[in-house]
């Protein structure tokens, strides 16, 4: 594996291998000294051309727990504001001695271009509404730890599918791992073309609720226009939000995931967000371990 651009490229054994190693890294993170020397002397550059706090911090925490050094790039304080091109920017950082780049960019395919331009291993940290593969890994890890395995589980991904790179990444990863995935959204928030997506589609959350093992709530992305198709956010909660009433109708062992940051009172009611079966904080911890596994797979070990 030289790059991680999307979950469509990952087969079952690659996914299982990453998740197995992520479990080992969870044990590392739980130690009195949560740091191992595996990537000592390597440099990971986090190139986030779009605002992000948690994903960037999670990658940096992962790199540091593996003893790698980090270079951090933010668009606000950079020469981008002087008109430097993406290509010049990434080649400049590569020339400083980065060994791997994590790239987030609003343009679909930007991480792949960065890999071509620099020749470096690249991890897609989110490109437009396309892919966010490490989010899918941490989600799969969270579900696997809660449920033992994804095989045969029924998982609903609920909300703004059309604007969501998380949904796309999750659908392919969950399906490859043997889960049965259903997308739940109003027609206006579904992608125009779902050809090749290994999942079912429903527009009625209440109809699919009772046989779910996992409910995956997407954030209503007000900044990407996700809320504009609804008359009000209260209306969204009423039709597609996980209310206390809907939560009570789930199977007693069903769990709830959300990529964060949550809009309490929009896609999830506050009381549900605080229930122990809402695994949002586990997802955050698992995210560090999943990203450690990705960095270790890309930088640890000679090319076979």
């Amino acid at each position: 594996m030289r790059t991680l651009l999307g979950t469509e490229d990952l087969d079952r054994s690659s996914l299982d291998g990453l998740l197995d190693d992520a479990e080992a890294f969870l044990e590392v993170l739980d130690r009195p000294i949560p740091k191992v020397p595996a990537l000592r002397g390597r440099t990971v550059a986090t190139m986030f051309f779009e605002p992000s706090t948690r994903t960037r911090l999670s990658f940096e925490r992962a790199a540091k727990a593996l003893s790698a050094d980090t270079l951090s790039f933010s668009p606000g304080t950079s020469s981008l504001s002087k008109g430097e091109s993406l290509k010049d920017t990434v080649q400049t950082i590569a020339a400083m001695g980065a060994d791997l780049m994590v790239v987030r960019h609003r343009a679909v395919g930007a991480p792949a271009r960065v890999a071509e331009w620099t020749g470096l291993p690249v991890v897609n940290g989110g490109d437009g509404a396309h892919q966010h593969p490490t989010q899918a890994l941490l989600d799969a890890l969270t579900i696997r730890r809660a449920k033992g395995a994804l095989d045969g589980l029924r998982i609903a991904i609920v909300g703004d599918i059309a604007h969501s790179r998380v949904a796309r990444s999750d659908v392919f990863a969950f399906a490859t791992l043997g889960a049965d995935v259903v997308l739940v959204a109003p027609r206006t928030l579904l992608p125009v073309d779902l050809t090749g997506w290994p999942c079912e589609v429903s527009t009625d959350l209440d109809a699919v609720l009772s046989d779910l093992d996992v409910v995956y709530l997407l954030r209503v992305q007000t900044e990407r226009g996700g809320a504009s198709v609804f008359p009000s956010l209260r209306e969204y909660l009423r039709r597609f939000g996980l209310t206390r009433d809907r939560f009570a109708r789930l199977r007693p062992d069903a769990v709830v995931l959300h990529p964060g940051p949550m809009n309490r009172g929009v896609e999830i009611e506050a009381a549900v967000a605080d229930d122990p079966r809402a695994l949002v904080l586990d997802q955050v911890t698992n995210g560090v371990a999943a990203r450690m596994a990705v960095l270790f797979h890309l930088l640890g070990g000679a090319d076979a």
Partner: protein, 177 residues
């Protein structure tokens, strides 16, 4: 290729039994002993050694595992291998840790295990038990307990197979001559 068996199942059983007695003798009992196996085959050997010590002493001896995949000094020279489990059964401070591996060769695995151990606690002392010592050390490391000293040439291979994960059991020497 030539291949010859140097230890069979009964030999391994007797070696572990003897090492268990030596561990107890050296440490005047086993009250503070924690046995940690190095994956893959050090783990079942550690489990057997701890069981033998428990059996002789009549009190349970804690056993765990310590993976060295993240502490190797040749991570960028060899293909990546899946990480093994690290499990520490109880805090290691003020304990005597007996590290267990199947074959002692260059000593680099043990060096990595000592580094890994330093992140997990501060035992009072660390001892090393190996089923086979085949020589050719590249670092100043020596075992405290040895099942069998096995002089080898560098181009020979030593293979250990154990019932816990393999279809048969024994120690073999192979070469391509």
């Amino acid at each position: 290729m030539t291949r010859r068996r140097v230890l069979d199942e009964a030999d391994i059983r007797r070696a572990i039994r003897r090492i268990a007695h030596e561990v107890i003798e050296r440490n005047r009992g086993a009250d503070d002993v924690v046995v940690l196996g190095i994956p893959t085959r050090g783990v079942p050997l550690a489990t057997r050694l701890a069981a033998a010590v428990s059996d002789i002493e009549g009190t349970p001896t804690p056993v765990g595992s310590i993976d060295i995949g993240l502490h190797r000094d040749d991570i960028d020279r060899r293909p990546r291998v899946p990480l093994g489990p690290t499990y520490v059964p109880e805090p290691l401070d003020h304990k005597t840790v007996v590290l267990v591996d199947d074959v002692l060769y260059t000593g680099r695995t043990v060096r990595a295990a000592l580094d890994a151990l330093a992140d997990l606690g501060r035992p009072d002392r660390v001892q090393l038990a190996v089923l086979v010592d085949r020589g050719h050390r590249e670092l100043p490391i020596r075992p405290d307990f040895v099942g069998k000293n096995l002089p080898t040439a560098p181009d020979e291979r030593v293979t250990v197979r154990l019932r816990e994960g393999d279809e048969d059991e024994g120690v073999w020497i192979e070469d391509d001559r």
